[in-house]
């Protein structure tokens, strides 16, 4: 039984509105969010031009004989501004919006259909492809010491109690029920997102004891995929939850025996299987597909997914991955030559190389927790708290267990020190993967850092793009931090900031920092829906 859930996406043509030509875009009556939900959802504001948007119908054909009922289908809708935010966060580069359809900014621009794992009757864990657009975070500004006092709100972000704008998520169970989901948060370690619904009414299948997974075992991957019925109707996209037969080809474990990663092989793998749920023949969940390389797939084991879910549920918010700020190599892979190049003498290495324990630090990034704790290049971290570090995976897992923002004690040996000594480090936090491959300090865009201090994430737009929004130039607001000064003052995502305190924010203004003061009222000149207005940033006490 392959096809268990059919999701029918049909486009229905909209009549062209023949309204008179107003300067502002016509707001069309849009499709409601998941109306069947009993959860309270944040009202979504839809501003769109009717002629540009088609409603899509999703029809679920229930199938009670699902092999793995814990596999659900998630439909994640994103507006244009969220997609822009996703792109900017994904690239990690300072960019200017050269061209964008102004009407697509606040209207739905994309819908992702992904698999989810119902861990119990109300919690779902999934790899949402555009989760970065939903994560409610701001990177703390990295400023030189002499500038650190310029932005009074630039300290660690306080937990927000204000309800935030909820992502538009619909969960469709295998038996055809549809539920509105609440986005709880993103786990920075695994990249998994956690959602919650009121109740699915049916117990989910518990996860298998993943220690039993072995190389050669046959497992199946469940993921939504396109299908074509025998008599397709033009204009309709048919989707089902498909199954892909795979075989386990690799199992990585931590020193503790805990499963860290699995790899599987299939005769043919499609990119659509990424995010799919891996189950054994009995339907027990074994993991979630993280990535594919040809016909091989890498899986986050079920245990790691459980840990990620626990972390997010405990905080009821996104959990960034711990950031230490080092580049290192496990001692087991380090050559004698590498040790010597990093300050070790040959006679010191015999025991170190024989024991093969620890992580050799090859680089310490300035300004990071490692640098602040005075860790140095050439140091070897032997233990995290009281646990010995043997492999890179061990080190990652131990840091993940400690968690971002938490204090950790390393046991370190150093070439010119006598014996091991403790080093206490308060771990940082990071969501971006950019840090992984760009080992340098992020560029500081002072203007945007200044705006971020009042809760505004923005991107400059070109003159052409600004003119499409009835502005000369400006900064497009791509995110508003909940309960921030900007949020309290009524600024919205999609607003275009033309001027701050009367000073235009053209391209030249990016060279200086806006000095936002707590005691002073600042006025933002914004363009919203092609209409100019002013937003007064309230002064805080």
């Amino acid at each position: 039984m392959t096809a268990l859930t059919l999701v029918l996406l049909s486009t229905v043509a909209l009549a062209q509105t023949t309204a008179t030509a107003p300067p502002a875009p016509v707001q069309s009556p849009t499709v409601p969010p998941q109306a069947g939900a009993t959860e309270k959802t944040q009202p979504r504001r839809k501003t769109m031009r009717v002629t540009q948007t088609l409603p899509v119908k999703v029809t679920v054909v229930p199938d009670q004989q699902a092999v793995a009922p814990q596999v659900v289908t998630i439909v994640h809708r994103l507006s244009g501004i969220k997609m822009l935010r996703f792109l900017l966060r994904q690239s990690g580069e300072a960019s200017t919006v050269a061209m964008i359809d102004p009407f697509s900014i606040t209207s739905d621009a994309h819908a992702s259909i992904v698999a989810g794992w119902a861990m119990d009757d109300k919690t779902i864990t999934a790899r949402l492809p555009q989760a970065a657009a939903e994560a409610d975070y701001f990177q703390p500004p990295s400023l030189p010491a002499e500038l650190s006092g310029m932005f009074p709100d630039s300290g660690p972000r306080r937990p927000s109690t204000a309800p935030r704008a909820q992502p538009d998520l619909t969960v469709i169970t295998r038996d055809g029920r549809r539920l509105a989901a609440r986005y709880v948060g993103l786990d920075g370690v695994t990249g998994l997102s956690v959602l919650q619904v009121v109740s699915m009414g049916a117990p989910a299948v518990p996860a298998a004891t993943v220690k039993g997974v072995s190389v050669g075992q046959a497992i199946q991957l469940f993921a939504p995929e396109r299908t074509s019925p025998s008599e397709p109707t033009p204009g309709i996209i048919y989707v089902r939850v498909g199954e892909t037969d795979t075989t386990v080809t690799g199992v990585e474990r931590l020193s503790s025996g805990k499963l860290q990663r699995m790899t599987v092989h299939a005769a043919k793998l499609s990119p659509e299987v990424v995010g799919g749920i891996a189950c054994d023949a009995s339907g027990n969940t074994l993991g979630i597909v993280e990535s594919i390389d040809g016909n091989n797939a890498s899986l986050v084991p079920a245990d790691a997914a459980w840990d990620a879910t626990r972390r997010v549920l405990e905080r009821q918010a996104s959990v960034p991955r711990p950031l230490l700020g080092i580049r290192g190599e496990p001692v087991e892979f380090s050559t004698r030559r590498l040790f010597v190049a990093n300050g070790w003498r040959d006679e010191q290495l015999s025991k170190l190389i024989q024991d093969q324990v620890g992580i050799l630090l090859l680089q310490v990034m300035p300004g990071t927790p490692a640098a602040l704790a005075e860790l140095r290049r050439g140091d070897v971290i032997m233990k995290v708290n009281n646990d010995a570090v043997k492999t890179a995976e061990d080190f990652s897992a131990l840091l993940g267990d400690v968690g971002s923002g938490e204090q950790v004690k390393f046991t370190v040996i150093r070439p010119d020190a006598v014996g091991p000594f403790p080093v206490s480090v308060k771990l940082g936090a990071a969501f971006d993967r950019q840090f992984n491959w760009q080992f340098e300090m992020p560029r500081v865009n002072t203007a945007q850092v200044g705006l971020e201090s009042v809760g505004i994430e923005s991107v400059p737009v070109s003159t052409r793009a600004a003119s499409q929004m009835a502005a000369k130039s400006g900064l497009l607001v791509v995110a508003i931090q909940p309960q921030s000064v900007a949020a309290r003052s009524g600024l919205r995502e999609g607003d275009l900031i033309e001027a701050i305190d009367g000073r235009g924010v053209g391209t030249g203004v990016m060279a200086f920092a806006f000095e936002f003061s707590r005691r002073k009222k600042h006025v933002l000149s914004v363009v919203r829906n092609r209409e100019k207005s002013q937003v007064e940033l309230e002064a805080s006490n």
Binding site: S95, T96, H110, P234, E272
Partner: protein, 259 residues
């Protein structure tokens, strides 16, 4: 008369000649003496050059699927056309219908403009049970409390002497414009509202509507060096695959990692 025949033959030869091919001697000599045919040859030459400069048009990936589906649909519908059918589809009939539609539209606009000078932009609330409309209450300007129960306007543009915003009512799936000061609402139909049914949690086999876009979202991002990247985002994607390849990530074969 003779010249006309020569012109016609020459132009026919010009039309049929391959790009860059030379004309026959009589045609060539005619072109040299006849300015009209000379101009005709130049025009055809420019047209050919323009066509050659165009990039080849490629069919979309699903062209074959869509074409076959359309052929299948047309085949199912294919029936001998009656005399009336041929009459209806004839050019004069279509032209007549267009004139009628145009006339009705002009009358409707004229009537509409006299009744209200404002244009409303609203988000009607779906009337179905358990169906919630998307709206922004912060900008609502509902003046009539009776109507407010069934409508949720979000914003208005333009001016109205009375300061009242026209509002939409949803009645039986049809959208009606009720202008302020009018006792009877002006009827207006918006197909996007008429097709959204109610959805209840737990119901089986029903429909869920999502407002996915009709076409990819296209935007351009410019980096610090001025290089512009054009990005086209598909309206729907499946799985957690990368929509876009971000910049090239250096692949390191070394065992070093970053924490």
């Amino acid at each position: 008369m003779m010249k006309f025949r020569e012109c016609r033959a020459t132009r026919q030869e010009i039309d049929q000649a391959e790009a860059g091919a030379s004309l026959s001697a009589p045609a060539q000599s005619h072109v040299e003496t006849c300015s009209a045919c000379g101009a005709f040859q130049d025009e055809r030459g420019r047209l050919r050059a323009l066509l050659t400069s165009l990039e080849p048009v490629t069919a979309p990936a699903d062209f074959d699927f869509r074409l076959r589906a359309r052929i299948a649909a047309q085949t199912d519908r294919a029936e001998p056309r009656s005399f009336f059918g041929r009459l209806v589809l004839s050019t004069p009939a279509i032209a007549l219908a267009a004139v009628v539609v145009l006339g009705v539209s002009i009358m409707w606009f004229a009537q509409h403009r006299t009744q209200t000078q404002t244009v409303a932009t609203t988000t009607p609330k779906q009337t179905g049970k358990g169906n919630a409309a998307s709206s922004d209450s912060s900008s609502s300007q509902v003046k009539d409390p009776k109507v407010a129960e069934s409508t949720t306007p979000t914003s208005t543009t333009g001016t109205n002497p009375k300061g009242d915003a026209p509002i939409y009512l949803v009645r039986g799936g049809k959208l009606q414009l009720k202008a302020p000061g009018l006792t009877r609402p002006v009827r207006s139909v918006d197909e996007s509202a008429s097709s959204a049914p109610s959805i209840r949690q737990g119901q089986n086999g029903g429909d869920v509507y999502i407002s996915a876009p009709a076409k990819p979202m296209v935007l351009s991002l410019q980096d610090d060096n001025g290089a512009t990247r054009r990005i086209s985002l598909p309206p729907v994607s499946f799985g957690s695959q990368r929509l876009l390849e971000s910049r090239v990530v250096p692949v390191s074969s070394k065992s070093d990692r970053v924490w």
